[in-house]
């Protein structure tokens, strides 16, 4: 209860979606995320960049409590969504995750048909009143995921029989279908060709009109193209966070500069 009050106090800007305070994540003894404080804005695309293994995925997963599923993972500090502490015992992680959708780094389609993969979220959240509506949602989501044309004739085939990039887009479409308020995307374009990438970036642009999007990417170009804010992680630390333009043109921290210019990894 006290936490809660405090939480509410912290919300001063209305367009802050996520506030994190001194977040630490441990895997057993490994300290994977150290003291991360970041405010993620609403209706904004935030990019997480940083060398492989620096903790981007870990931090991203802590934003919708996906780390709960890893037995050895432990999160400390405070993460507020709309001013509410998501690690509060009163919070139902299920509801949280419905609000904060996620696309994983490794595509993980269900061993079901393509249709059922997409329809899964809407079904459990009761987003469709009938079959026709559900069909609509599926088509719409697949279109947004830039996959519709490739799979429209094989909706009943298993999602696991798709190519790597197709699976990735399927997972994007699946996440979009539940209409989350925040979408966390872990390298959503890693297996996509430039055109598909462009389509996904378009989708991200469209989503940001109403929602908040957080994207992990290794492509500076992509970060520069789609995001308004960028956070640079290094060895578990949030080194720098600010407007994307500023980070890419005029980074404050020397490490950021080295990374962007390709000197540290």
């Amino acid at each position: 209860m006290k936490d809660n009050m405090e939480g509410r106090k912290l919300v001063d800007q209305m367009d802050v979606k996520f506030q994190t305070r001194d977040v630490q994540v441990y895997y057993g003894d490994t300290h994977a995320i150290k003291d991360v404080n970041v405010d993620i804005l609403d209706k904004t695309v935030t990019a997480f960049i940083g060398p492989s293994g620096c903790g981007k995925s870990t931090f991203l997963r802590s934003l919708n409590r996906m780390n709960d599923t890893i037995p050895i993972a432990r999160v400390e500090g405070k993460i507020l969504l709309d001013g509410e502490d998501i690690y509060d015992p009163k919070v139902d992680p299920v509801q949280l995750r419905a609000k904060v959708g996620m696309v994983f780094q490794k595509p993980n389609p269900f061993p079901k048909s393509i249709y059922d993969n997409i329809a899964y979220g809407p079904r459990i959240h009761g987003l469709a009143r009938n079959k026709a509506e559900l069909d609509d949602i599926v088509e719409h989501s697949l279109r947004r995921g830039a996959l519709w044309d490739e799979v429209k004739d094989r909706l009943q085939e298993p999602g696991t029989g798709l190519s790597g990039g197709q699976q990735q887009r399927l997972c994007i479409a699946r996440a979009v279908a539940t209409e989350p308020e925040v979408l966390l995307m872990d390298e959503p374009c890693s297996a996509l060709d430039p055109i598909a990438t462009a389509q996904v970036e378009e989708l991200i642009d469209e989503l940001k009109q109403n929602f908040s999007v957080v994207i992990v990417t290794h492509s500076m170009q992509q970060a520069a193209r789609v995001s308004q804010k960028t956070a640079f992680f290094h060895l578990g630390n949030l080194v720098e966070y600010g407007d994307t333009d500023q980070i890419f043109t005029n980074p404050v921290d020397p490490r950021t500069e080295s990374y962007i210019t390709g000197r540290i990894g």
Binding site: N64, M66, T69, P93, V94, Q95, L96, R97, A98, K99, G101, M102, V103, F104, K106, N108, P109, F110, P111, K112, Y120, G121, I124, H125, P158, T160, C171, R174, A175, T178, P180
Partner: protein
Amino acid sequence: MSPLWLLILILVLAIAGFAIGRTRAMASVDDHRKLHSRPNYYGTNVAMLAFAPAALLLAVWVVAQPIVINASVSHLIPETSYEDAGALNLIMSDVKRVAEGLDVAVAQGALSAEEARSIRTEFTDVRARLGEVGVALGANVDRDVLRAAQAYRARAATGTWFMTAAVLIVALAGFFFAIREARGDFRARNRVENGILTLLITAASIAILTTLGIVLSLLFNTIEFFRLYPALDFFTRLEWAPSFSGRGGASALGILPLLWGTFYISIVALLVATPIGLFAAIYLSEYASKRVRAFAKPLLEVLAGIPTIVYGLFALLTVGPLLVSVFGNGGLLGVDWMGGGRAVMTAGITMGVMLIPFVSSLSDDIINAVPQAMRDGSYGLGATQSETVRQVVLPAALPGIVGAVLLAASRAIGETMIVVLGAGAAARMSLNPFEAMTTVTAKIVSQLTGDSDFASPEALVAFALGITLFVVTLGLNVLALYIVRKYREQYE
């Protein structure tokens, strides 16, 4: 040399071969990386070639030699002394017994080897001499039999000698052949793996052999049964009432009420075991802490290890009366559905309890093997744990779970003790699950272990029941396989 010693000898040869093959292969190249396979494969290849063909030959020989000798010796029996093949057979078994008896006598020192070769029925009471060393003979030994037996022994000795030679030659041939092969470019791994594959196939065909064995061991008596009892009655009659008093065809031996009881009881058992087992499995693999799981799972497995007689008594003394007090006359529900403690429900529920671990433990392992990424994908969409389990994990684990349930069903069909004590011995065709019924299996056991005339249809019917049940379950399994194939989902 006796087969056992021969076996040990070729085993030693194989072990030596392993070492030599390995060393030779390594020596054949300057750098062992140039070997096609790892050195151990070369060694194994030598061991395999030295051992396997020789052992196989040995096995075949040990089985075939008596048959061959039997055939050759039977010519020594004058045709006048027997009427038909059956009688010759009898005489020959006598010959063998005498021959073995002589062997035993020699081994025990009751006869010298020379004596054994030369004794004559005219001068020695062979039956008595052999009786002294504890060899059972059916009748006094006549001259021809003894002569044949002596020939039998002589030929057996020669045969054994040839066997020793042949097996050793084959072993050595394999040995040297493989040693010669142990060179860098030889595909030893492929050879060894083919050998292993052969073993795997052999193992898989044991199932076929078992089936064949079962069918054959049931078939003759079944045919005999159908000679005595009309097949049509057996398959279509709605009554099971074997009689005792030698009243001939008065027994009613219709299988249908038994089959009905079998399926009714099995279904009740599965209705108990499947949900409980499945929910237990889900809880153990998805919700329970490691601690709880490590403790609850083996405990549940104890249920599978409690002897069925305990379950039977449990059904008879606890479950039955309990059910009667609920569903019986003057029971809690005020209905009078249940006359006595023995009922389909009693047996079904008890059997269901026994089958819980079959479903729970196997399913738990399978559910646990579903990759975490599947669950993550579902949680990431805001699914609750139960939605994840029901809609993602279970479908992915379905083939295994079906296997577990089928196994439980099989067990239910094959169970006797619980049925006898829980459901009774009376065959009946009724829809009321609170009535006593019985199963095919229970009747197989009771007719086989009963007191009726073993040549009568009442006893032989057990075999016909066995084979019919076999065919029926075969059909059900084909159906199950078809269904599983249709709904199989593969992850990744």
